[in-house]
Subunit: 636 residues, 2 copies
Amino acid sequence: MAFEYLTNIPLEKARAEYIETLKNNGFSPKTETVAVHLSSGRITASPVYAAICAPHYPASAMDGITVKAASTFGASETTPIILGKDDFIVVDTGDPIPDSMDAVIMIEDVVWTDDKCAKIFAPASPWQHIRQIGEDICAGEMILASNMKITPSAVGAMLAGGVMEVEVIKKPIVGVIPTGDEIVPPTADPAPGDIIEFNSSIFSAMVKEWGAEAIAFPIVPDKFDKIKEAVENALDKCDIVILNAGSSAGREDFSTEVIRSVGNVLYHGIAIKPGKPAILGYKENKPILGVPGYPVSGIIVIEQFIKLILEEWYASSEKGYIYKKAILARTVVSGLKYEEFVRVRLGMVNGKLVASPLNRGSGVVSSFMKADGILEIPQGVEGYEAGEEVNIRLLRNENELSNTLVAIGSHDPLLDEIMDMLHSSDPTMFMSSTHTGSMGGIMAVKRGETHIAGTHLLDEADGSYNYSYIEKYFPNGGVYLVECVERTQGLMLKKGNPLNINTISDLKKDGVRYVNRQKGSGTRILTDYLCKKENIAFSDIYGYDREELTHTSVAAQIASDTADAGMGIYSAAKLYDLDFVPVCMEQYDLLIPESAWDTPMVKRLIEVLKSDEFRSRLDSLGGYKLTNPGEVRRHF
Amino acid sequence: MAFEYLTNIPLEKARAEYIETLKNNGFSPKTETVAVHLSSGRITASPVYAAICAPHYPASAMDGITVKAASTFGASETTPIILGKDDFIVVDTGDPIPDSMDAVIMIEDVVWTDDKCAKIFAPASPWQHIRQIGEDICAGEMILASNMKITPSAVGAMLAGGVMEVEVIKKPIVGVIPTGDEIVPPTADPAPGDIIEFNSSIFSAMVKEWGAEAIAFPIVPDKFDKIKEAVENALDKCDIVILNAGSSAGREDFSTEVIRSVGNVLYHGIAIKPGKPAILGYKENKPILGVPGYPVSGIIVIEQFIKLILEEWYASSEKGYIYKKAILARTVVSGLKYEEFVRVRLGMVNGKLVASPLNRGSGVVSSFMKADGILEIPQGVEGYEAGEEVNIRLLRNENELSNTLVAIGSHDPLLDEIMDMLHSSDPTMFMSSTHTGSMGGIMAVKRGETHIAGTHLLDEADGSYNYSYIEKYFPNGGVYLVECVERTQGLMLKKGNPLNINTISDLKKDGVRYVNRQKGSGTRILTDYLCKKENIAFSDIYGYDREELTHTSVAAQIASDTADAGMGIYSAAKLYDLDFVPVCMEQYDLLIPESAWDTPMVKRLIEVLKSDEFRSRLDSLGGYKLTNPGEVRRHF
């Protein structure tokens, strides 16, 4: 097993030694010559000197007459000089000055005689009102130093300086080789067990953002010879090769052996999580990076090594990433052995940047898409406590973060519609939402992590929604409860209801597989209450401990026949074309802290809630009743 | 004359009304469908919903055995259960779970019996250690809202969610039509009077940076019918048309008439300088922008209107520009009638951002390339005083500005070589140099505008260089004088010296056309001194008042035969292959204020000066003597 030989090299050491090794083996940028008019955005490979002067001829800077200055000497108000037709030429601004002349007199300073001669009342000094050769650029002057980014105006300056071609750093070609027997090209109709190969698309897009060309090679099965052949082929065509292992751990992995057989392996195993099994390989001056199959691991490894290699290639002036201090919302524990990369959502809430850790599963590509930043926990650090100030690597720009409405709390697909409406109506505004259930949302408001929290918490005592919870958790008030919708909760069931489930009690029936929501979610609290009311023990329901985080994912389990029933809202059942037994209408509200109330995002949110479009979108989703969305139910 | 009808519309009013007019005429983005794997960086045109769940099948999250949970109920340490061969299947992480099973037991919790049955000591709960369908993405979930930029991980999320194609906003096509009889395509060998057409390359590069496609059409002569035909053709092919007038003012300009003949003109004449003659036109939903011919005017107009139009097209979340406060180095006067755009160099000197206005000539494209920012002086404001805090629109990022060595003072081509060496040895460091002559450099140090100033000021009293000037202008010290080079000053003469000029006195000869340096430059002070020593009146030398700002531009005048002689350094004469009569060796030093002394840029500069490469580069330039470059001559 290759895993037995894994090293655990600290990241910085691995980065430094990899670059040094590559450079010692001749790694350096290639250059190419391109037409100047197509060179904007490229990086110069050598200094650019002007070939000609700009302007390249002396030109009149005024409308007037061009003269020989000497012929005007002595002219004055009292002793004007009359220039004959051969002594001047009428010129417009920009006209070339003939060799015989060396000054321009402005047209308004000329008096015309009847025989079309020019009478002047002051001498012209040599070269007055003439735009001289080289005023803009002189031949031989350095227009651009080497390693400079070519701007649009630099394109103009080069062309003005007679430079038609420029030597620039060639875009390196990065080849991505996906491997794995279960891997299939992207499809909307994969068979069970098929793993959709999207890593090469992600990696290609990443390296393109960093200025490289990308070639995504076809999928290679898990066979030593085939992989070796693919790597050799890629080395022929590319400057840098990424070998992406199959996604399944516990399987044979030929990557190290293959890289050793065609070149060298500096290290196999870096002290990072995710991304530990990375392989730092090379053949001569070409890096071959072995990247783990899980997308999140792969992204981290590519960020740490391919970006570094491309920065070296381009001798980039801007290296690395932008970091920003943030307050950590929840305690994060990390192993001492690795440097860990934790994806976080960021919210600018009440003037503080707050970082909420996301799902750490390395197979969850959507979490990378949702992440606003990365918390990097160094090797040897056990983690950070909630409330600690931590350094976050930003994945989105600060301006966007400041204009993002943060929603943490109960899930409802209507939140996505709000997000779309908010951003469409004002493109400078964004929304990020995290599904933690209603109680999670209340706690997020308490901790100052969120601007809004969807909540639908039933008070078993009086059947009211939300009030009693808010009174309990916010004894001093400071929050607004804003009406959103009433929505239909009920049992989502397989199409046609083959098991004939009509009540909560039917969930006890033999053969019924239930799928539940997580503890703390409003829907779970509702389900628990309904069970108690009917005197049903939770253990009597098969799968009651099986937890999903959203209405949609509960519906997805039923639709894919891994469960028969689950509690959820009508719109989720409708989305998956499931049968639905309504149980109750419940109040789904938005809890908003006073500190967020006057923000432009919340104001816009209220406008969205009150809009006709919101009504019509929720009509399409189905199962909602809108009375006065956007109205304050109570200011606590 | 079209100019008689020019309006003078305030910029903000013009921008707002132009966009409103375009929208009222149906201006809106086109959309197109692209393959998801090629969609990174594009903007979604509509919300993207997942087509399938990811993962799309339940998969083992561990290496182990998959079982039916119910078959394990009751197992304990004391009452283990033995599962027969049909009751379990061995699975690796990632393997699909068959329909008949619903839990995974970790391999380490299984004891194998001799007959290969599995003995277990604890019950499995339904769906334990199984990665459930939709853990990452659920079918029907919104993956991306509309108008969102597609990131590499969003590409992965879409492919994982079974989305193969995505509707994005089409890149608008911007057509650029250059017009003018004197305009010629870029060439290294233009004839006198030819104006090199580089505007279309600049404008194309600009709009590409803002996300558009560009088509640069062939040059059209100054004829109404030809221009009209070109505009109609461009309207067929493009979404936005830029009509670039000929560069020469005072000539007929058909742009307005043509735009009126094919569509409408909202305004002709905006209250901005440069850029006043801009024409805001359109045909139906397509903008037609008339742009003045001078490159700087054109750039300003395109920044103000085309960027605005593209932001509207893309419903951009980031609009406009980034501004930063800076201290103005010199007073800038502006007309009340226009909003004026003044290019400035920026330097972070002694902790303050200092803005030094550049050449305001609108034909000088190199000044735009050298500019670090734009000072926008509103209409109705007369200008700003030296020392005032002003708002600067940044053209380079702040990080770069903080790492830029600012050089203001005497010109020498060696400064360009230093710039190249500085940046090549450390790509995070930049250098900007402005040629103001030695006295200008001393004043820039005094005003705190510069890190270094090249200076070679002769004390006529004792023949020493620089000391007495520094004592006079820095009576309290606070500056370092760093040795750079000795260099050969002399008379630069036409190749072969046809006028037989051998001494300063020969400049008085009839027919000798002299070209001088500007007042305050060390070379001018030297020349004045030499004349006085020889008792030559300045007025005895033809062209003594003709001023150029650099050695190179003096040499360029002689090489192009608009002058016969000029004082300058040997390296400039060599660059232009001129004859050279040496006059003296002079000391060229660098003056550095104490506040800059410990900056990384100055430290690196000293290393560069002391390097062997600096010696060898100056050897190639010629005419320099290096003794101890980089040593402190005196700390005042």
